[in-house]
Symmetry: C2
């Protein structure tokens, strides 16, 4: 919760925090302002005090919507800070001590500003933190019902669009070589499907700023391959569809994956799917409030290892096949945030009340041309129930409406 | 041009440059990779050498599309650099000298990494630059025909969507109080229009990550107000429509503004429009290759000042009415980049061959409930002609198809 910041600052021995950058697509700034067209802003927060936001005078009315204390300046606030560090720090009463620095912005400019600050206030210590564990990663970890409702709404939008995609592709005609055809008789490509996804998300007030993963065959075996737009859609190949849209304007995200095989499944792919599904179910059955997230990663690694798959716990170096990632991650204003589930993550990555997190086991065999992942997002309700934030069927084989296996 | 980087590094006495962050929505990284789903990457470039990109092993195939030399690591490269600064710097042969740092990413993580680097290589100087004038701002300043063609394509998409918006709103029914009505009889809001804009852009492979400005009446008098989604669309009010979409995946932008008054115009608004239009035309008639961009800002300030408007050149402090901004800016992988046109900008902000830039004079009177801006984007062709990259009519009053002034 944002109200945790004061205590977290105290625990980290921070006398102030500074957030740099835009209000949109910049989680720490968005956390304070709730978005808005506020560019290259500078925010200061001291323990027990309301945050103060320096904004460009042209954007003062946008900034005032945040309810923060606003100080308009006649240029970009980042520029203003670089040119007047002494004035601003004096205004804010920050002349010594430790100041945490945050925000998604231009790092060259940030380093330039830090240099100017050090020139005029050498006794000030500017503190950077590992991005997986910044003070904001801790503050944001627990979501209240209002935040969870926003993620849930994105979940509704996401699954609605996924359903439309399933309906669209299974309605296609199929060529003799099992390639799907569009209405005009030309082959359906990954790029065609992705255009529909963007469109349908936009219609519902969601954006896929970072795109989505819609990959088939060998690409499905590479967990972060987004799919080749020119690849043709075919029957009987694994299709990994990982979609993580956010609210337009840079707010909360959802994260969701299904793996499909159109018309029929190769027996080896079906086996892979069944394994992933089995492990997924086992994790869900065992989810407990306050449990250490990595315990489930260990469970999954052990299970997959028993079945002969490589895992991050049982292999060294860069993995290219088997179970090559961790089980899930927190989700909110960042697509990836605390809690973390790597088997090496610290013990404080727990499924605390308010945590919103993904569960997404997968198995990947690029050389065999296949990959499988199943993912849903959950909210740990204060009553200890892990609520799946959107429902969607787990079918692997999607029957084609106008095609039958001979 | 990216090929200018070697000479620019030499001129700035930089022994290497490092770029941090994703390949999408991160102009310096995109400049090297051409986009792609490559997250939290680290790129090194030394004079005369090909850039080297550290990527997450899961994203190696995405990274390989860039044609750069790829080094996959088993975690996020930013994390890898924070944990193994000595190893990576030794691999890259960077142990002393000046290293420029760039990229849009998490500044807390960047500062954390810089600290780790300084611990192991205290003799290394990490250099941050004013974001308006980084080495990339100079390298990117001149666009070749291929880059200009991409901006031009976005211009075509932009003006097509603007035309659709004009057609849509002028087709509406009008209530007795001059409020526009939707097909279902309810009032048309700014939010409704913006949803259509996002949708029509998405259909054409463009995204408005930062939204657009579609503001009416008083909000039109605040140049950076994006418009209140609940405001109703009405006749006879100035509507500032500033739209700056980019290629999906974080590539090149276009930037464009028209001001409209639906059905009829208040005489005072028409006068304001005519003034802005007159100044706009005067600037365009006088555009010369290699001219100092700020000379046109001075021309505009003098002209507006003569007509009794406040301008940044003729007034002190924060301006809230009159001509409150500068004439234009460069445009490319950033919506705002070099050359700059503030009257205080350095003399090297010239309209060089290859420059892509906006011309966008405006006048704002929020207390009178009106504002006007006209903007197009131009490419300074190598032959010395300033080519307007998209054509669109300059009509101020848009007649309503089903309404006539009584």
């Amino acid at each position: 919760m944002i109200s945790d910041l004061d205590a977290l600052m105290k625990a980290r021995n921070l006398d102030a925090i500074v957030v740099l950058g835009n209000a949109e697509h910049n989680p720490p700034m968005y956390y304070f302002t709730g978005g808005g067209h506020i560019s290259k802003a500078v925010l200061f927060k001291k323990p027990g005090e309301t945050a103060v936001l320096y904004c460009n005078a042209m954007e003062r009315e946008e900034a005032e919507k945040s309810g923060l204390r606003i100080i308009p300046v006649s240029t970009s606030p980042l520029d203003y800070l670089a040119k007047n560090p002494k004035t601003i720090l004096a205004e804010r009463g920050i002349t010594s001590g430790r100041v945490g620095v945050y925000g998604q912005t231009d790092v060259s400019m940030a380093l330039h500003i830090f240099g100017k600050i050090k020139e005029v206030q050498p006794e000030l210590e500017l503190v950077g933190e590992d991005q997986d564990n910044t003070i904001f990663m801790y503050a944001m970890e627990s979501k209240d019902a209002k935040e969870a409702a926003r993620v849930k709404h994105m979940g509704r939008v996401t699954t609605e669009v996924v359903g439309m995609v399933a309906d669209y592709i299974t309605s296609c005609d199929v060529r003799d070589d099992e390639v799907l055809l569009k209405e005009d008789g030309s082959p359906l490509t990954i790029g065609d499907v992705k255009s529909k996804i963007s469109l349908w998300l936009t219609e519902r007030g969601a954006v896929d700023v970072e795109g989505c993963i819609f990959s088939i065959g060998r690409d499905a075996g590479l967990p972060h391959s987004t799919g080749n737009p020119n690849d043709l859609m075919r029957l009987g190949e694994t299709i990994v569809f990982d979609i993580f849209p956010g609210e337009a304007g840079g707010g909360y995200f959802y994260d969701f994956t299904r793996t499909w095989s159109l018309g029929y499944a190769k027996p080896e792919a079906q086996k892979l799917y069944d394994e992933v599904r089995g492990v997924y179910d086992k994790v869900i059955e065992n989810i407990d409030m306050n449990a250490d997230f990595k315990d489930y990663q260990k469970l999954v690694c052990d299970e997959f290892n028993r079945n002969g798959h490589k895992t991050p716990m049982h292999s060294e170096g860069v993995l290219t096949e088997g179970y090559v990632h961790s089980l899930g991650h927190g989700l909110g204003l960042n697509v990836h945030e605390r809690p973390w589930s790597r088997h090496t993550s610290s013990d404080d990555n727990r499924l605390k009340p308010g945590a919103v997190f993904t569960i997404e086991p997968g198995l990947y065999y690029p050389e065999k041309g296949m990959g499988v992942r199943i993912e849903d997002s959950y909210w740990m309700r204060p009553d200890g129930t892990a609520e799946r934030l959107a429902e969607y069927p787990y079918d692997f084989v999607l029957p084609m409406k106008k095609w039958k296996k001979k």
